[in-house]
């Protein structure tokens, strides 16, 4: 698998749609693992980092088969490509920005990725479309079992999988669900959701993880605690909370449609108007407008628009991808023009 092909292909978790796909974009399960008998990544000398990367690459390819996964080295990867992998949620912002020897193994179906030399030696993550907590966990568990045949993990019977940051120790699992909640934002109820979620020891983050703003009304909800409860228990808590949030969002959508249909349509069609006619547009404005259009399509108010195209655009209009599509390095203002062009082309307008 070539990197360019991977980046220019639709992202399966976004394009395919899954269970409750109108509100839930994706489910992710991430496991952190470290190799026994070594310092954590941040304390490795450059030559140790290099040796570890080679060791992990060999172990991962042997465990999963070189036909199924491709190993990409990040040290000499162009910045735009690294950015694209972050936008696809295949690597973390931290791994993209880090220095020294590091890599990522990505499976051909882009269902899972394994980062090497991140904060922890290995970070394995599985992304599935829609709500699929159990399915994503089973896949992560199975990949983890295969890796474990090659690598001896740092593990303590008392504290579980040992991680560089004590906030991850134990199961070292972070399960997160990405939700599109435009109606809860519009009806100003989103804060209520956050408060309820915080009481369950769950965390809310924006589209691109910790500290990022919730652009495009997209939120990620994940477990905070990783120690003292089993993977199944963590998934059970999330599995109980997500359907409630989905129901709240559905109710808010109904309220908007019943009580202020004109304001709702105005918002949706203005967004459509701008997206189909703008000559220059920033990535944040694009996400905000795509959010309104996505809502309009799912409510059946904006017809004849392919939801797959709209979902695709959430990713392909990001700064890295738009440059990749243009096959050129572009300044911010050049990107805004290229983005507007590309959106008009994809939405079939001039």
């Amino acid at each position: 698998m070539k990197l360019d092909d991977l980046i220019l292909s639709p992202s399966p978790w976004l394009a395919l749609g899954g269970p409750q796909g109108d509100i839930v974009l994706s489910t992710r399960v991430r496991l952190a693992r470290n190799v026994a008998g070594r310092s954590f990544s941040s304390r490795l000398r450059p030559e140790e980092r290099q040796e570890l990367e080679a060791y992990l690459r060999q172990a991962v390819l042997k465990a999963l088969g070189p036909d199924h996964v491709t190993w990409f080295e990040l040290a000499d990867m162009p910045e735009i490509d690294r950015r694209c992998l972050v936008e696809r949620h295949l690597i973390s912002r931290e791994l993209a920005a880090a220095e020294g020897q590091r890599g990522v193994a990505i499976d051909a179906a882009q269902r899972f990725a394994i980062m090497a030399n991140e904060e922890d030696h290995l970070r394995l993550q599985v992304i599935f479309p829609g709500v699929q907590l159990q399915e994503a966990w089973l896949e992560a568990d199975s990949v983890d079992n295969r890796l474990e045949e090659q690598v001896t993990y740092a593990f303590s019977p008392k504290l579980g999988y040992l991680t560089a940051c004590p906030t991850n120790v134990g199961t070292a699992m972070r399960a997160s669900v990405m939700l599109h909640l435009p109606s809860l934002v519009l009806t100003k109820q989103i804060e209520k959701v956050f408060r309820a979620v915080a009481r369950m020891r769950l965390a809310v983050r924006g589209l691109y993880g910790e500290g990022t703003q919730a652009t495009g009304d997209i939120y990620q909800i994940s477990n905070q605690a990783s120690l003292g409860r089993s993977e199944e228990d963590i998934l059970k808590t999330l599995g109980a909370v997500i359907p409630q949030i989905v129901t709240y969002e559905q109710q808010a959508r109904q309220v908007l449609a019943d009580e202020s249909p004109m304001a709702l349509d105005d918002r949706i069609f203005r967004a459509w108007g701008i997206l189909t006619h703008a000559r220059t547009i920033s990535s944040d404005e694009t996400l905000a407008l795509l959010s309104a259009v996505r809502l309009g399509v799912h409510l059946g108010r904006l017809q004849g628009v392919n939801i797959g195209t709209i979902n695709d655009l959430f990713l392909l209009t990001r700064p890295g991808h738009i440059q990749k599509i243009r096959r050129a390095e572009l300044s911010e203002s050049q990107r805004d023009v290229a983005r507007a062009d590309y959106i008009r082309k994809r939405l079939g307008s001039n």
């Binding site: 008998g37 904060e119 579980g160 120790v169 605690a225």
Partner: protein, 164 residues
């Protein structure tokens, strides 16, 4: 800076809004932000909470000098970076970490998945760390035969775990 809305309380929430392709910055206090439906809590992340907790530990002077014999990190360094140096630190810093783990996770013991192989016990892990240090010394001292022997030993220990 005072809140632009009520002009009374200090502005702690800083927003960048994009309207018709124009950027607008707004500075609000937490109350006004909440009234406008802006999510304040969502901006707090786990790392901030951990840093806050570690900060609170700052006064505990005797712990600051604790150092791991395997990786060399001191508790003070961990406190500053928020990251441990090696798996053995969970033993060396067990006392001060206890409170942190309790606060973050509300629990102190693992009840989840177990590796299928028992090869990763703490003694083996520590032995591996020590072997690696010896290997480093051998390489630096240009004792290549010794280094090769150590490398084989490490490889063997790393890949063979007993089946549980």
């Amino acid at each position: 800076m005072l809140c632009q809305r009520c002009k009374k309380q200090p502005a702690t929430v800083h927003l960048t809004e994009i309207l018709q392709n124009e950027k607008r910055e707004r500075h609000l206090c937490e109350d006004c932000a909440r009234e406008e439906g802006v999510a304040v809590k969502a901006q707090i992340n786990l790392q901030d909470i951990l840093s806050g907790m570690l900060e609170a530990h700052h006064t505990a002077g005797k712990e600051a000098n604790l150092a791991c014999p395997d990786c060399g990190i001191t508790y003070a360094e961990f406190r500053d970076q928020g990251r441990l140096g090696c798996p053995n630190d969970y033993e060396v810093f067990a006392e001060p970490l206890k409170e942190i783990l309790e606060k973050v996770h509300g629990a102190a013991e693992h009840t989840g998945k177990l590796p299928r192989r028992a090869g990763a016990d703490l003694t083996t892990q520590r032995q591996l760390m020590q072997l690696r240090r010896q290997l480093q010394a051998a390489v630096e001292g240009e004792k290549y035969e010794e280094a090769a022997r150590l490398r084989d030993l490490i490889r063997e220990k790393e890949t063979t775990g007993e089946t549980r």
